[in-house]
């Protein structure tokens, strides 16, 4: 499988998650800093370097590939060549534990 996820897409998802958390943290900080001088100290957002994004893409690619491979094994064992939801159901618990 040569295709992989777009690093920018993964970066966008990460930034969404980080900004969500940042807002929560900032909200909590606001309560504590109310008494001080009115300086709004914005916590710097988390960033990721390029190779970290590439490895993340690889990890997600492995997740998708693994899900399909394991479900395909079940389908093959039943002698069917279409992967159905019931096949995915069977492999899901272990898959989620492994990742």
């Amino acid at each position: 499988m040569e295709e992989n996820f777009d690093p920018d897409l993964i970066h966008a998802i990460f930034k969404l998650v980080w900004s969500r958390r940042n807002k929560k943290v900032e909200g909590n900080q606001g309560i504590h800093l109310e008494g001080g001088a009115g300086t709004s100290k914005k916590t710097r957002a988390t960033t990721a370097n390029a190779s970290a994004l590439k490895v993340s893409c690889e990890l997600l690619r492995l997740f998708v590939a693994e899900a399909i491979q394991r479900a395909a094994l079940i389908a093959e064992a039943e002698g069917i060549d279409i992967i159905e939801p019931t096949h995915l159901e069977r492999v899901l618990p272990q898959l989620l534990l492994d990742f």
Binding site: F14, N49, A52, V55, L59, V64, Q69, Q94, F99
Partner: protein
């Protein structure tokens, strides 16, 4: 009955502006989810083909949603790891650590990371013989640890 699955819905003292921001974030999330789903669809169909099987639509949709959730969880994990190390920027090691639940998986990621490092001539530290020996390995299903 409250469970751990209940996210902070309803926590908002800001009134309207908070709701607007929440809606915006939800819209953005929906957009990213769709983009990811498209990638997963093409990856899944080509991978299934190489296995000589077809994959039904609901399965692909399910895997796409799971991948999105995995990506979100990954983002949270690596942020915590980087913060724990006193950094603001996530690096490769943080990502590799987030896969600690499966040794085989972690090994695969380390190999991938080594290859990436080896391809960059400017950031040359010690070029170990191991990095040079690494060739493309055939993908096999990841072993499940009993």
């Amino acid at each position: 009955m409250e469970t751990l699955g209940d996210d902070g819905i309803g926590i908002g003292s800001g009134g309207e502006s908070d709701k607007e921001r929440q809606e915006e974030a939800e819209q953005e999330a929906a957009l990213l989810r769709d983009r990811l789903r498209l990638s997963v669809i093409s990856m899944a169909s080509s991978h299934a083909k190489t296995l000589g099987m077809t994959i039904s639509e609901p399965v692909v949709a399910c895997i796409a949603d799971l991948a999105f959730k995995q990506a979100e969880q990954m983002g949270r994990d690596v942020e915590l790891f980087a913060q724990h190390a006193g950094r603001k920027s996530v690096n490769m090691e943080d990502v590799i650590l987030s896969a600690h639940r499966n040794e085989h998986l972690m090994g695969l990621l380390r190999d991938f990371a080594q290859e990436l490092k080896g391809k960059e001539p400017c950031t040359e530290r010690k070029r170990t013989k191991k990095a040079l020996k690494n060739e493309n390995k055939v993908q096999e299903p990841i072993e499940m640890l009993d």
